[in-house]
């Protein structure tokens, strides 16, 4: 539901790191516990990048599964979307091992800056 401001933030970060170069690829790492819809980000990306050095670039989503560990019986399990309850002992005391990632790993840029293109 908040993909628009997230996508704006992604573009701001990418442009800052691109340093004037044309951006070809953007690599995102997003845990399954972060409530973000990839398709929706992609949709906004195509609109927001128009007339910027990121126009036409590809977004790559590396999804990290949510791994949880029960603090009662130490069982490790994957989040099934149904609440954070241990499938073995039913305890709700779980530790999140992974799944909360929410960052940009890298971008790929063209070797030459925008100004060089065609010169």
């Amino acid at each position: 539901m908040h993909e628009l401001p997230i996508t704006q933030s992604i573009l701001e970060i990418a442009l800052r790191h691109a340093n004037g170069h044309r951006i070809t690829d953007v690599y995102l790492v997003i845990g399954d516990l972060a409530s973000v819809v990839d398709d929706s980000v992609q949709f906004y990306w195509e609109i927001l990048t128009k007339d910027t050095p990121a126009e036409g670039s590809r977004l790559h989503f590396k999804r990290v599964p949510a791994e949880l560990q029960c603090m009662n019986c130490a069982r490790k399990f994957r989040f099934n979307g149904e609440g954070l309850v241990c499938p073995d002992c039913g305890s709700v005391g779980v530790k999140v091992l992974s799944g909360e990632e929410f960052y940009m790993e890298a971008i790929e840029v063209a070797d030459r800056t925008e100004d060089d293109v065609g010169s």
Binding site: M1, A14, H17, A34, F102, E105
Partner: protein
Amino acid sequence: MTKRVPVVEKLLSANDRLAQENRARLDEAGVFAVNLMASPGAGKTSLIEQTLPRLTERLRVAVVDGDIATSIDADRAAQAGAVASVQINTGGECHLDAVMLHQALGQLDLGQIDLLLVENVGNLVCPATFALGTHKSVLIASVPEGDDKPYKYPGMYRGVDALVINKIDLLPYIPFDMDYFRRGVEALNPGLVTFPLSCKTGEGLDAWIEWLLHNLTPTTRPPDH
């Protein structure tokens, strides 16, 4: 030819930076700010209405109100005794973010405020993701929502500093298992301070008011009378 540029930056870093700016601005002016979050209808505005008259003799309280549309809530806050109230209409956004609070702070005379109550948009998912720069985050749950909400919205319950459980006057009429509810809360946010109360009867409100007063930073604490 392309080259890879490592970034490793949080996707909401811009929001987080602005939230830090908001915090610095509040601290400088000696304003203690609380972010109130809840689902629609849990009683955010009612809690503000009950809180204001209990504080306005001792503190200057302002309210920032986030809603998708209308200024009903800001008007209610003004009537209840807020020294200032700012309505933010998010125009469809499901949460407040640091930019919106930043704009609202610009409309307030912070030097004339001791406590700022920020009423977030009614939603149990998105507001948890966006830091505002407030000092404390408070979740208002209410009995009619059901006792399973901690299990269904863990992100919200994990991120708050206090939990108000509103509408306890309805407990005799609603199948709400308080032990089950509290077990979920305790697992997600061990030791979380909770305030079972009723905005309708006034029961339990004193403890909530005490908590607010206790948490005011020393610079904003009113002089002893």
